[in-house]
C-alpha cells in the first residue's frame, strides 16, 4: 500500500545509520534525534520524532551514509509498510 503524503516524512534506516548525529545537527526543525537504543552494530541510530518535517532535505545531504536517510516531501508517494 502506498499513499500520497500531505506532510513530509524523513525515514532513517536504523541498520544503515552510524549514529554520527550530523542529521540531527542539520535539521532546522529539530525533528531528528538519536535513539537511546542500539542498532546491531552498536550505534545509537537517528530517528524522526514523528512530526514537524518540512521536507527541506538538509538531513539527507548532511548524512554521509548513502542508504541511511530517505526524505519524502509533501505530495510524494509514500510506501506505508516502511512507515512507523
Amino acid at each position: 500500500m502506498s499513499r500520497i503524503l500531505e506532510e513530509a516524512i524523513t525515514v532513517v534506516s536504523a541498520e544503515h545509520c552510524k549514529g554520527c548525529g550530523l542529521c540531527v545537527q542539520a535539521c532546522p526543525q529539530a525533528v531528528l534525534a538519536l535513539m537511546s537504543s542500539f542498532n546491531s552494530k552498536g550505534y545509537h541510530p537517528a530517528h524522526y520524532v514523528g512530526e514537524g518535517c518540512t521536507g527541506c532535505g538538509m538531513c539527507f545531504y548532511a548524512c554521509p551514509e548513502p542508504a541511511a536517510i530517505t526524505v519524502y516531501k509533501k505530495g510524494a508517494e509514500y510506501p506505508d509498510q516502511e512507515g512507523r
Binding site: H16, P64, P66, K73
Partner: protein, 474 residues
C-alpha cells in the same frame, strides 16, 4: 521540478556486492565526509544522465574502495597516479566521463606532479580532491594539507613551519596554470556549504561533458577519527582550523572562453597505414652482384673520421645499396664511450651469409677520413685487407706492408666539385668501383635513402661518379 523523494541515488550500486561483509553500508567511519561527497557524486551522475559512460578512478587512501559503491565503470590505481591513468582512459575513450577521486596525500604528496601536469595539459577529466588535512587509511599521518601545529601520527608535536613547511593550497597552485578550465574549493561543513559543494561538483562534471577541459573541485571534508573530534564537533573544527587557511570559492573558471573540444580518431585502411608509415615504397630493384675481383667478398667495413665528415651516412650508403643488391647488411654507429675524442665511426657488413657479429676487431676494410682514425685503426685491419684514406687531409702515410693501401685525395676532389663535405661519397665511389663489391648503379639508386638533404642528392651522384672514375685510374 524538484524531486519529491530524496533517496540513495541510482549512481550507487543497490547492494555493495564488491564489499566484503555488510553490503548495505560504507566502510567509512561515522561522520566521515567521503560519504557525503560520494552521495553528491552519485546523485550528479544520475541527474546528469552520464552513468553509463562514467568511469571512476579509485585512489589509494580511505577512498581506495570507491569501486565498492558506484554503479559505473571502475578502476583502482596506484597511489597518486590517478591523473596519469585518467589521462589515458579519457584519450582512449573520449566519450567517457572520467572522474579521478583523490585524497590529499594521494593527490598533493605522492601524486603532486601527476596532478600538476594533467591540469597543465588541460586533460578533459574531472578531479574530486578530498582535503581532510590528514592521511586516514594509513593511520592519521601528516598530509601536505595538514595545518600548522596539527598533531598527527608523524607530527606528534604538531606540524612545524620550519620542518614540514606550511599547508599546501592546491587549487590556488593549479589556478596559476593556463591549462585548467574550472577550479573551485568548497567544504562539507553544514547545510549551506554542502549545497555549494554540490553545485561545484556538478559544474565540474558539466565542464567535462561540454568538452571544456580540466576541472577540479577541492572539497574540505571532515575526518573525525583522524582529528579525534566528535562528528558533530567536526564542522566547528573545520571552521576554526581549516577555513582561515583554505578559502572557499571559485579560483579559476574560464569555461565561457573555452571552445568545446571532443577528441576524435580516424580509422585508416591497411593501405593508408602502410603509406603513412613510409612502407609503401616500390619493390626493391635488385642489381646483379658483379664482384669483379676475388678477395673482396663479404667485407666488414669500418669507416672512421671526425663527426661532421659524413662517416655515418657513407656507411648508410653502402648498407642501403647492399640491401638493394640482395646482400645481408648491417650498420652500427660508434656509440657510447667510443664517441669521445671526436672520432666517429661506423661498421658496415655486406655479406652473402647471415651476419653474426656486426662488429669485428679486425675489419676487412678501413676507410680513414682523418689522421687520428688512421693512426688508431690501421693496426686493426685484417692482414690482406684494404685501407683507404683521405690523402688530402691526412699528412702521414700508412705503415702496414701486409694490406692493400689506397690514397684517395677525396677532400680535394670534393672541393673541385664544389663541396668538400662530399669527400665521403667520393670515397664510397672509389671503394665500390675498385672492389666491384656492388654495382655503382645500386649506390646511385639508393643515395636518396642515405642523404637526408634532398637538394644534395644530385651533387652526391656527381661525387660518386668522380670516385668511380678515380678508381679506374688506379
Amino acid at each position: 521540478m524538484a524531486k519529491l523523494i530524496l533517496e540513495k541515488p541510482k549512481g550507487f550500486c543497490d547492494s555493495y556486492e564488491r564489499k566484503p561483509g555488510d553490503h548495505g553500508t560504507t566502510h567509512y567511519c561515522p561522520g566521515c565526509g567521503h560519504g557525503n561527497i560520494h552521495k553528491l557524486l552519485a546523485e550528479a551522475v544520475e541527474d546528469l544522465g552520464i552513468q553509463d559512460r562514467t568511469i571512476i578512478i579509485s585512489p589509494v587512501g580511505c577512498s581506495v574502495f570507491v569501486y565498492y559503491y558506484f554503479a559505473t565503470g571502475n578502476i583502482q590505481v596506484a597511489h597518486g597516479r590517478a591523473p596519469a591513468v585518467a589521462t589515458a582512459l579519457k584519450r582512449a575513450n573520449p566519450h567517457a566521463i572520467v572522474v579521478s577521486y583523490q585524497g590529499d596525500g594521494d593527490l598533493a604528496a605522492i601524486g603532486g606532479n601527476n596532478i600538476l601536469q594533467a591540469a597543465n595539459r588541460g586533460e578533459h577529466i574531472t578531479v574530486i580532491f578530498v582535503n581532510n588535512a590528514i592521511y586516514g587509511m594509513t593511520g592519521g599521518q601528516l598530509a601536505p594539507t595538514s595545518l600548522l601545529g596539527m598533531k598527527t601520527a608523524t607530527t606528534p608535536y604538531g606540524r612545524d613551519l620550519l620542518n614540514e613547511g606550511p599547508p599546501m593550497k592546491v587549487v590556488e597552485l593549479l589556478s596559476s596554470l593556463d591549462g585548467p578550465t574550472y577550479l573551485e574549493r568548497q567544504a562539507i561543513m553544514g547545510n549551506k556549504y554542502i549545497a555549494r559543494a554540490r553545485k561545484a561538483l556538478r559544474n565540474a562534471l558539466q565542464c567535462q561533458i561540454d568538452g571544456k577541459g580540466f576541472s577540479m573541485v577541492e572539497i574540505l571534508s571532515a575526518c573525525p577519527s583522524g582529528w579525534k573530534v566528535d562528528p558533530t564537533d567536526s564542522y566547528a573544527w573545520m571552521e576554526k582550523n581549516m577555513l582561515p587557511h583554505f578559502q572557499l570559492g571559485v579560483t579559476k573558471d574560464v569555461r565561457a572562453e573555452r571552445e568545446p573540444f571532443f577528441r576524435t580518431f580516424k580509422t585508416l585502411s591497411a593501405a593508408e597505414i602502410v603509406e603513412q608509415l613510409d612502407l609503401a615504397v616500390p619493390e626493391p630493384k635488385h642489381f646483379p652482384s658483379k664482384l669483379q675481383k676475388t678477395g673482396y667478398g663479404d667485407p666488414s667495413i669500418k669507416l672512421a673520421g671526425f663527426g661532421g665528415q659524413g662517416i655515418l651516412s657513407a656507411g648508410a650508403m653502402l648498407a642501403n645499396a647492399g640491401m638493394e643488391q640482395g646482400l645481408q647488411t648491417s650498420w652500427i654507429p660508434s656509440y657510447g664511450p667510443e664517441m669521445r675524442g671526436g672520432t666517429a665511426y661506423c661498421f658496415v657488413n655486406l655479406s652473402e651469409r647471415p651476419i653474426g657479429s656486426p662488429t669485428v676487431s679486425h675489419p676487412d676494410v678501413l676507410m680513414a677520413f682523418n689522421r687520428p682514425s688512421l693512426e688508431k685503426f690501421e693496426p686493426d685491419v685484417k692482414p690482406g685487407g684494404l685501407l683507404m684514406y683521405d690523402s688530402t687531409i691526412i699528412d702521414v702515410k700508412p705503415k702496414r706492408g701486409d694490406i692493400e693501401i689506397l690514397a684517395v685525395p677525396a677532400t680535394q676532389m670534393a672541393d673541385d666539385l664544389g663541396n668538400t663535405r662530399m669527400a665521403n661519397t667520393i670515397m664510397v665511389g672509389v671503394y665500390v668501383a675498385h672492389t666491384g663489391i656492388m654495382s655503382p648503379a645500386a649506390i646511385e639508386q639508393t643515395l636518396p635513402l642515405a642523404i637526408k638533404r634532398k637538394n644534395l642528392v644530385d651533387a652526391n651522384k656527381k661525387a660518386l661518379r668522380a670516385g668511380v672514375d678515380f678508381a679506374a685510374t688506379l
